[in-house]
């Protein structure tokens, strides 16, 4: 059953992605993106990455996208003038370039799938993760031992970013 749901969610995400790109109203875009992120969260949960699934829904779909919606409302952006138009050469150039990137990425995916010399499999099989107490326990074990320094550095980054956002959002720095 899980596999089928993953496929459905993937199709839904692909569909919502089109709205993000082509919808004229910024609200539509934002909510399509929220939906897309929730879909991805569902996929993560279904393929065993529970912690990432939770993060995806709480941080992305919850916090970040709420920020976006607030920004839209703050700037009164629900007007639709001067958007992309189908009559402009730039639109086709953008489509062409994206298609090229897709081809290149697709060829990479194809190379990976057809490669017979894949790196040896790690120890964190589904069963092993269950043995140690689940995905969250396993991840936090790694995060607070092996990756601890990165964890601290990224916390510094967040601090710097919040200070920067504060300074930028102030009308005048006195």
């Amino acid at each position: 059953m899980g596999e089928a749901v993953v496929h459905v969610l993937a199709a839904l995400a692909a569909f919502l992605g089109l709205f993000v790109v082509f919808a004229r109203n910024p609200f539509t875009c934002a909510f399509a993106l929220v939906g897309l992120m929730v879909c991805l969260g569902g996929i993560y949960g279904l393929i065993g990455a529970h912690f990432v699934a939770a993060l995806q829904v709480i941080v992305y779909a919850g916090a970040i996208m709420v920020l976006f919606v607030f920004a839209i409302m703050l700037m009164n952006l629900n007007e639709e003038e001067s958007e992309y138009s189908w009559g402009h050469w730039r639109t086709y150039a953008a489509l062409l370039l994206s298609a090229a990137v897709f081809l290149i990425l697709g060829s990479g995916v194809n190379a990976w799938l057809s490669d017979t010399r894949k790196p040896s499999s790690g120890v964190w099989t589904f069963d092993h993760v269950r043995e140690v107490g689940g995905n969250v326990v396993a991840l936090s074990g790694q995060l607070f031992s092996k990756d601890y320094i990165q964890f601290e550095i990224i916390s510094l980054l967040l601090l710097v970013a919040s200070v920067a956002a504060l300074i930028l959002a102030k009308r005048k720095v006195d």
Partner: protein, 100 residues
């Protein structure tokens, strides 16, 4: 089709959609959304690889990427607020003072 393949393809597809949003849209806010979309696509790729290779590193990386995305959108949006204050708009065809 196998789930892994579907997810890889979805990742590539979402990445290109994000790129397209960046290239196509004149609304800076939606360009930022495009960037978020590309980051999501990369995350999906990480998690899928993590699943295929039975490793946790991919998921750990996603943790860091999400943190980065939060910082990026916070700063990006504050820059947008400033642009809006200065130009009265955040459309790219209005904010063209950086030209030769």
């Amino acid at each position: 089709m196998e789930t892994g393949n579907v997810l890889h393809l979805l990742s590539a597809y979402l990445f290109c959609l994000g790129l397209l949003a960046l290239l196509l849209r004149r609304n800076t806010l939606i360009m930022l959304m495009g960037i978020e979309l590309m980051l999501n696509a990369v995350n999906l790729s990480f998690v899928t690889f993590s699943r295929e290779l039975n490793q946790l590193n991919g998921q750990l990386q996603v943790f860091f990427v999400i943190t980065l995305a939060a910082a990026e959108s916070a700063i990006g949006l504050s820059i947008l607020v400033n642009i809006y204050r200065n130009f009265g708009s955040i459309k790219t065809d209005r904010t063209t003072s950086l030209r030769g």
